[in-house]
Amino acid sequence: MKVLVCVKRVLDPQVKARVKSDGSGVDLSNAKMTMNPFCENALEEALRLREAGSADEVVVVSVGGGKTQETLRHGLAMGADRAINITTEEALEPLAIARVLKHIVDQELPGLVLAGKQAIDGDSNQTAQMLSAMLGWSQSTFISEFKLDGDTATTTREVDAGLETISVKMPAVISVDLRLNEPRYVKLPDVMKAKRKPMDTIELDSLGLDTANRLTVLDVVEPEGRAAGVIVANVAELVDKLRNEAKVI
């Protein structure tokens, strides 16, 4: 079975986003970028499936311009066999990303697609569900456990009430949560090996897909900050403030 893993290049989670003063968006110039953390978990799971003999090829795919290839190289260094980069400088919405990914799935015919539950830049949490709908496949989202048994998979989902276990027919699109696994570290020899692995670069425009955005971003602003509070000397003062000043207990 071939596994396709969808990965996105995003602002490093340790870096606080800076809003551009003209309100046009978040300033990413010279910012530290990385593979979306959830996508690393998705890739890790695919690699484990290959190591367990359940998958024979792991392909990473990313839609994006700039240095997206660096993120795919990181995926190859983690252990993916091959990479596909659909290039565009346009910031596409999840609906368009899903349409592009569907095109790749139709060509690659994987038995399983793994994605992150959300990209930590747009916080959309949409792409996997949309791709699954377009393919007419089964879906399981926000998973923290995955077990493949033949033509079904048993998955445990992190939901508001706790954990839900469902089984899905293969092929499926699965979106993963951070507790699914611990992504491996990349070692220097892996980075060297990754340089020789194949990477296809396809221009988005050459695919002739409708990827027009449906939303116009009118402005992006920083939220109001909180006013600085006080440091209390001891527990007695804290209780007094909560009772008599804030009146919340």
Binding site: V26, N125, Q129, F142, G162, R214, E222, P223, G229, V239
Partner: protein, 309 residues
């Protein structure tokens, strides 16, 4: 304009979060209909019909919707949605699972986790863990929206008298099967609706020590929450996680104990009315957002706080 709000429920009761989504629909304006899809869920439709401001409750009662599997539910929503300008659900794991699937079937964008309705086609939503707020205008004929509950008051659960219309729609895709659900909540106060939340982080050291927080919570009628580090370390279960990738809450009082205040944690609690931090590191970023900070060892401070209550 006409709004369809997807009712989240357990086949018995309407989830409170749905009432917040209904308020967002009221702000958009126009008629509000509700869709109740489930199994043996007449009781849900009956209480949904009591919610103030609702015109019609569409009820689809069929075993194929019993566990809200995304494939069946999204097909149904996409089908019923065709008569509406706006389709909304709360941004809970229920809404997040099904709504993008429905919106792809409708070939429209989804607007995730709105925090404000500017006009019927313009909405504000947080991005980058809430470090930026984007105002977006939709050009789609049907606007599919998930609603961040903390930013919209709950609509009144009574006072309405909607009609109930039973539909025989739906087809079973047979793509997925529900197996089980593990809920550890019991009779504890629920995190998203609690007025006071006491949260613990890695500083708690282990799961047993969370009994210190539970004792405080019991006295205050509060819920217990946690940072991701506390959940990852196995101290408490996943449904207690507060943050960018957990629950977003805004109680009247949030007490953060042994939590450093990472961006991703703040994303889930910084809208709380009053924030208290107890941490032995005076440099911890949590103090920058707290109204009252106590620099102390939590193992001294929490028992003392508990007995002072």
């Amino acid at each position: 304009m006409s709004n369809l709000v997807i009712v989240e429920h357990d086949n018995n009761d309407v989830a409170v979060a749905t009432l917040n989504a209904i308020t967002a629909a009221q702000q958009i304006g126009g008629d509000i209909d509700l869709l109740v899809a489930g199994e043996n869920c007449q009781a849900v439709a009956d209480s949904a019909a009591q919610i103030a401001g609702v015109s019609t409750v569409k009820l689809v009662d069929n075993a194929m919707f019993g566990h809200h599997m995304a494939e069946n539910l999204a097909l149904l929503i996409a089908d019923v949605a065709k008569g509406y300008s706006h389709v909304l659900a709360s941004a809970t794991t229920f809404g997040k699972n099904i709504m993008p699937r429905a919106s792809a079937l409708l070939d429209v964008a989804q607007i995730s986790e709105i925090v404000e309705v500017k006009s019927p086609d313009t909405f504000v939503r947080p991005i980058y863990a809430g470090n930026a707020l984007a105002t977006v205008q939709s050009s789609d004929s049907i606007k599919v929206i998930t609603v961040r509950t903390i930013k919209f008051e709950a609509a009144s659960a009574s006072g309405g008298s909607a009609s109930i219309e039973t539909l025989n729609s739906g087809s079973d895709s047979g793509l997925s099967d529900w197996i089980s659900q593990a809920v550890s909540g019991g009779d504890k106060v629920e995190l998203t609706s609690a007025g006071i939340v006491v949260s613990g982080g890695r500083g708690m050291q282990n799961g047993e020590n969370f009994t210190l927080l539970q004792s405080v919570a019991d006295k205050l009628g509060a819920a217990v929450g946690a940072s991701r580090a506390a959940v990852d370390s196995g101290f408490v279960s996943n449904e207690l996680q507060v943050g960018q990738t957990g629950k977003v809450i805004a109680p009247d009082l949030y007490i953060a104990v042994g939590i450093s205040g990472a961006i991703q944690h703040l994303a889930g609690m910084k809208e709380s009315k009053v924030i208290v931090a107890i941490n032995n590191d005076s440099e911890a970023p949590i103090f920058q957002v707290s109204d009252y900070g106590l620099v102390a060892d939590l193992f001294d401070a929490v028992p003392e706080f508990d007995s002072a209550l």
